[in-house]
């Protein structure tokens, strides 16, 4: 009996080792995709030359890399990583596999906030106004959802219906303001809604990076609590989790990440829903591993999608939202069909 017991023990350590390896692998893949992303474009730079161009001041290549490509690549990583991370948090807290910044209407909330700021905030420090409004309305919709899940229970149907309702509410409000706006304002909003990484400059990256990355360590610290939440609120409470506090703090932090993504890039695809699922299928739901893995997966997919979108029909650029779906959906379906036992 003792030998058997130590076998299970080893098997568990073995599995966690594999999960760590998976995360390291994703990280390497991300670095690799980043280098490709930097080297591809109207002027193709070799992979090694592009690394050199980052560090050495060598004329055109250096300028292109620093002014155009590097910001774009970093923004793609931030956006994908943020969405994957926030999606995992929403799914864990609402215990709902269909939850994500989009299906819950939180992205639409942030979008509406950004549009209001774009339309009415011209002139008044709008670079802070847009993220501020986006965050405020993202929070509004997430607390709305959290409230409903508290009253009606976090069943998939209730959550998603409430999310769709929120989504419609905010898109109608957005349309209403567009209808009231001038031609130029409408143009600006429509362009914004397409979802694009091309607006990213270093200043935007600084602010987006702060909104997206600062919550990461605080959320990582709650990994075990997320694990216990999956056993049910009451069981989690009985194991010492302060359920209410964990839910509220993590929802606020995940909303902050979502608004950081939305306000600088517009509405981008479904990566927040899919990245956590892809990782859960591959490494299970221990959030100590799932959270970083989902963030890295999201970052890799968005970065790859953007690089392909820029190069496939160059000089035409396929919007990032469309490309993310093109890449993510087939892979998701592949895993869906392959996996037979769980709810997937």
């Amino acid at each position: 009996m003792n030998t058997e017991s130590s076998d299970i023990h080893k098997e568990y350590r073995n599995l966690t080792g594999k999960k760590t390896a998976f995360i390291i692998l994703l990280f390497i893949l991300l670095l690799f995709s980043a280098i490709i992303g930097i080297s591809k474009g109207a002027l193709s730079i070799g992979m090694f030359d592009s690394i050199k161009a980052i560090f050495k001041d060598s004329g055109t290549a250096h300028a292109i890399v620093w002014k155009l490509r590097l910001p774009r690549v970093i923004m793609a990583i931030l956006v994908g990583g943020g969405l994957g991370f926030a999606g995992t948090v929403f799914q864990a807290v609402l215990k709902n596999p269909l939850a994500s910044p989009y299906t819950l209407g939180i992205a639409s909330g942030a979008g509406f906030g950004a549009v209001v700021a774009i339309l009415f905030g011209s002139g008044i420090a709008s670079e802070y106004l847009v993220p501020g409004f986006a965050f405020f309305f993202a929070l509004t919709s997430s607390f709305f959802i959290l409230g409903i899940s508290g009253i009606k229970g976090p069943s998939s149907e209730t959550m998603i219906l409430a999310g769709i309702a929120t989504m419609f509410l905010f898109s109608s409000l957005t349309s209403f303001f567009q209808y009231m706006g001038t031609m130029e304002q409408v143009h600006e909003v429509v362009f914004w809604f397409f979802g694009s990484l091309s607006r990213a400059g270093w200043k935007e990256i600084g602010l987006a990076g702060a909104m997206i990355l600062l919550p990461f360590p605080f959320i990582m610290k709650m990994s075990w609590d997320f694990n216990l939440l999956s056993a049910g609120d009451e069981a989690a409470k009985a194991l010492g989790v302060n359920v209410k506090r964990i839910k509220i703090t993590s929802i606020i932090l995940a909303s902050l990440i979502t608004s950081g993504v939305i306000c600088f890039t517009g509405i981008i695809g479904f990566i927040g829903l899919v990245a956590p699922h892809i990782c859960r299928m591959l490494i299970g739901s221990d959030h100590r591993f799932l959270l970083p893995a989902s963030a890295l997966t999201g970052a890799v997919v968005v970065l790859a999608a953007d690089t392909l979108g820029r190069t496939l029909w160059a000089p035409q650029v396929i919007p990032i939202g469309i490309m993310t779906s093109f890449i993510g959906v087939p892979f998701f379906f592949y895993l869906l069909m392959k996996k037979t036992k769980e709810y997937w």
């Binding site: 017991s5 299970i8 599995l15 409470k237 010492g240 302060n242 036992k341």
Partner: protein, 255 residues
Amino acid sequence: MLDIKNLGFRYRKADILKDIRFELDKGEIISIVGPNGVGKSTLLKCIARILKPGQGSVVIDGKDAAGMKSSDLVKCIGYVPQDFPSKFPLTVFEAILMGRRPYITWRPSDNDLKIVSDLIDLMELTDLAMQDFDCLSGGQKQKVLLARAFAQETDLLLLDEPTSNLDLKHQLEVMEIISDMSNKKNTGVIMSVHDLNLAARFSDKIVMLRKGKIFCAGKPEHVMTVQNIRSVYDVEVMINTDQIHPFIQPLRAVS
């Protein structure tokens, strides 16, 4: 070890529980019985402080639970809920490891893993250790939940209907595991039970609830009487006292 004093709980101005008082010694098993909706689960949740009782107090080893830090409390009281929601894939090992959470900061220690492995062997779940929790049968799931509470290494266990939805063999198996564990580790157990015969057979004391109050409490043979069951359940029964434990045979519902 556990002293429940004058405990009461109100929900939307209705008394769910009132004047509940009883004591539990180390290694003792108490079953709470009573019809559906009488407040059995609520009572367990109040003791575990999942719900805050409106009146009265729960005293553990001389300390009022209301004044204890939750990180200390979870090392005293283990709780096994009735249902097991599982939306996301979770291995049996991970599910039981959750019980070690009060002792883990980030990485589980070798000792944590050893405790979990031993419990898995004890529950005869060795072959299923790395399987998905959702693939288990009802009886196996219940064993995992019990193991999770055992892993918590508390002196007191609260079990909410541990045998509901189980087949005959698993009902007995689960009850025997609980009784063995209580004997071996001197754990005090309070459980809500629907099956009066299981309650009579496996508990040292029975607390019978009626309309949120204790109707009677004491040794199984004192509580399980034809009159008591008739007044609490509106059911006429026959009780066979030939064996060590009273055997209750339901006859008909009384209107």
